[in-house]
């Protein structure tokens, strides 16, 4: 990994003081104030993830690099098939087996390389230091076990605990995620809960071991707007309280704008732009980010006027080009060289990175 790592260090943000990694040194995992940030808790460099299918090898994530700053929220935004969920599954090593493989690059969590970690070691981290929330709580929860048992399982997998302790911790966590009447809820099955309550249960399970990094994969897509607002606020509050870092994966730019500190825009298996949320919304540099921001209807846009649409369709994984992948939808003339040579990922302004296709980044 050293070569790949070196090649990127020059262009990615060199983090501030080599201070102590928050949470790593002290066992209590003291909350970190988001303002101080500190060094990244997760560093991904040139990650390549592919699936072996009957039609050949499909590279779903094609060499992406990003950092998750400690105590902050990184949003990954992109459309279906852009590789955002595969990125999450690569970090947690939950890729479908045996087809899914990490082919290259590195994922360092608190300095520890995850891509080559033995499975047992990974199981100790997963659900403990790194947790995940999934999109559809109904399919992620076990329908034939009470939610109390599922919560207890999450605790007992990582700590030895008496029955009374498990119960106390479960109820404590359910109060934290604002589930009313937790003692009764413990004995209920997922189907007895509403969508919002199920998602709260998922969050309780993910956070019960006080993870340092939470990966939320479309946590609110299946929910109504009013419940979505509740869940997003809950995640933000718990993040502040527990000092954890969050990767929030979504296709909704509104959600990104509301809760993220940093944003990575993914398109067709690559990150095309990464910047602070204010930078990205105020000054998007890549044609895709610009198009995406212009195409969404807003509350202050004039009703019944035509929207600025991005033409064409999201490319399928089999049609990924080696060069600029947004070329054919950008409406701008690309030369053959731009279509065959991969644009480099550069820091175009302080802490603002972009896949520097000279045509798409004008």
């Amino acid at each position: 990994m050293s070569d790949a790592y070196e090649s990127r260090t020059g262009i990615l943000p060199v983090t501030s003081e080599p201070g102590i990694l928050p949470g790593a040194a002290d066992a209590d995992r003291m909350p970190v104030s988001p303002a101080t940030g500190g060094r990244p808790i997760l560093q991904v460099r040139d990650l390549v993830t592919a699936f072996d299918t009957d039609a050949g090898r499909m590279t779903a994530v094609d060499g992406i690099s990003f950092d998750v700053p400690s105590g902050k929220t990184l949003g990954i935004v992109g459309e279906s098939g852009c590789g955002k969920s595969v990125t999450a599954f690569s970090i947690t090593r939950l890729l479908p087996q045996p087809h899914g493989k990490i082919l290259g690059g590195s994922i360092r969590f608190e300095g520890k390389e995850l891509t080559t970690l033995p499975l047992e070691e990974m199981q100790k981290i997963r659900g403990n230091d790194i947790s995940m929330i999934f999109q559809e709580p109904m399919t992620a929860l076990n329908p034939v076990e009470t939610v109390g048992r599922q919560l207890a399982e999450a605790i007992l997998l990582h700590t030895e605990c008496s029955k009374a302790d498990v119960l106390a911790r479960s109820i404590d966590m359910m109060i934290k995620v604002r589930i009313p009447a937790p003692e009764q809820r413990l004995n209920e099955y997922p189907h007895q809960l509403s969508g919002g309550m199920r998602q709260r249960m998922m969050i309780a399970m993910a956070l019960i071991n006080k993870p340092k990094l939470l990966i939320a994969d479309e946590p609110t897509t299946a929910l109504d707007v009013t419940v979505q607002a509740q869940i997003l606020e809950l995640i933000a509050d718990l993040q502040k309280e527990m000092g954890m870092s969050v990767i929030l994966i979504t296709h909704d730019l509104g959600v990104i704008a509301e809760v993220c500190d940093e944003v990575a825009v993914m398109y067709a298996g690559r990150i095309v732009e990464q910047a602070s949320v204010f930078d990205l919304f105020a000054n998007p540099r890549h044609a895709y980010s610009q198009g995406l921001l212009e195409s969404i209807p807003r509350l202050d846009s004039k009703p019944k006027t035509l929207l600025k649409a991005i033409p064409g369709n999201v490319p399928g994984i089999a049609d990924f080009k080696p060069g600029c992948r947004f070329a054919e939808r950008s409406g701008r003339e690309h030369s053959q060289a731009h279509l065959t040579n991969r644009p480099s990922f550069v820091e175009i302004a302080p802490s603002h990175f972009v896949e520097n296709c000279p045509i798409c980044v004008a």
Binding site: E79, S80, S194, G195, G196, M197, D224, V225, T226, V227, Q228, A229, Q230, L232, E233, H251, D252, L253, G254, V255, I256, A257, E258, C260, V277, F278, F281, A282, G291, L292, L293, S295, I296, P297, R298, L299, S301, P303, K304, T305, L306, L307, K308, A309, I310, P311, N313, V314, G316, R329
Partner: protein
């Protein structure tokens, strides 16, 4: 005269239980809804899941038998019309569904799908129909080569275009669009919305536009109705509703929308709790009940018929939620 008039429409479903599967309760999915829709107009319908917006759409195209109330289309009462009587009306009322993957027959080619409305209505000869199919494809921006392909060969956005082509085939007057873009990718959504706007202008269509995305609804509609637990709680011109909401539920919904601009972040007044079940809904104002509003009890024995507070702006006049 308005194209569609709905008066006090109710759509209840029996909830069966016990050994004998007797009806033990009724689910009041749509519980007394009234509105009108003019020619060339778009009425947006928003609300959370389970509020009855899809049921209302289905009742209007008469895929359901309404429990009571009245639906008048083009001056004709269609509330209780039978299949035979409905057929000529169905030419003029079409529907676009949320998930194009599920609403297109996977074993039919695009030509079969688009020809079927004409066959059902006994229109044209085979050659004429084939020509019409090509015209339709052109109208929705699909290549003529699409005719012999199957739905699975298309992307989500293209499939929705096929769904739209089928809906406009018979040159209808009204199309009920039930969440037409929520299953689509963000960059494709705007294409489909633009297509719907273009078609409306070109063909003078009226839309009943059902969605849960409030920004999308506002963008597409002339007027917007907000539904809560089977009832319309507020109905107003789009701009008016967004700038001057009068019902507490509308305000809560508007407040919950994530704004795609980080400079406009704010701490919100969050709505607590989930949408209650439409089985045995509370008496009076359902939203006041959810909010445990002190004035809720006053609404129990009140007439909650919508009241016009300013021209075209109707609000449910409950003391707990209307300001």
């Amino acid at each position: 005269m308005s194209l569609l008039t709905v008066q006090n429409l109710q759509q209840h479903f029996p909830v069966r239980g016990g050994v004998l599967r007797r009806s033990v309760a009724s689910c009041k999915a749509v519980d007394g809804v009234s509105f009108t829709l003019g020619e060339g107009e778009t009425l947006g319908l928003v609300g959370e899941s389970g509020c009855g917006k899809t049921t209302l759409g289905k009742a209007i195209v008469r895929l359901l038998k309404p429990t009571s109330g009245k639906i008048e289309f083009d001056g004709q009462d269609i509330t209780h019309a039978g299949i035979g009587a409905l057929r000529p009306m169905r030419r003029h009322v079409q529907m676009i569904f949320q998930d194009p993957a599920e609403s297109l027959n996977p074993r039919h080619t695009v030509r079969d799908i688009l020809e079927e409305p004409f066959i059902v209505q006994k229109m044209g000869t085979k050659d004429e129909r084939r020509k019409w199919v090509l015209d339709l494809l052109d109208k929705v921006g699909l290549p003529a080569t699409a005719t012999d392909r199957f739905p699975f060969e298309f992307s989500g956005g293209q499939r929705q275009r096929i769904g739209i082509a089928r809906a406009i085939a018979l040159k209808p007057k009204l199309i009920v669009c039930d969440e037409p873009v929520s299953a689509l990718d963000v960059s494709v959504q705007s294409q489909v919305l633009n297509l719907l706007l273009d078609l409306q202008r070109e063909m003078g269509l009226s839309y009943l536009f059902i969605a849960h995305g409030l920004s999308v609804v506002k963008h597409m509609s002339d007027r917007v109705a907000v539904m809560y637990l089977g009832k319309i709680v507020e109905l107003a011109p789009a701009e008016e509703l967004y700038h001057n909401p009068r019902h507490a539920y509308t305000k809560a919904l508007l407040d919950a929308i994530p704004v795609p601009d980080p400079a406009k972040r704010r701490r919100r007044e969050l709505l607590q709790g989930d949408v209650p079940s439409p089985i045995n809904p509370p008496a009076g104002c359902a939203f006041g009940h959810r909010m445990k509003h002190p004035k809720w009890e006053q609404s129990v024995n009140m007439d909650l018929t919508l009241r016009e507070v300013s021209p075209g702006h109707l609000v449910q006049p409950c003391p707990c939620c209307m300001d």
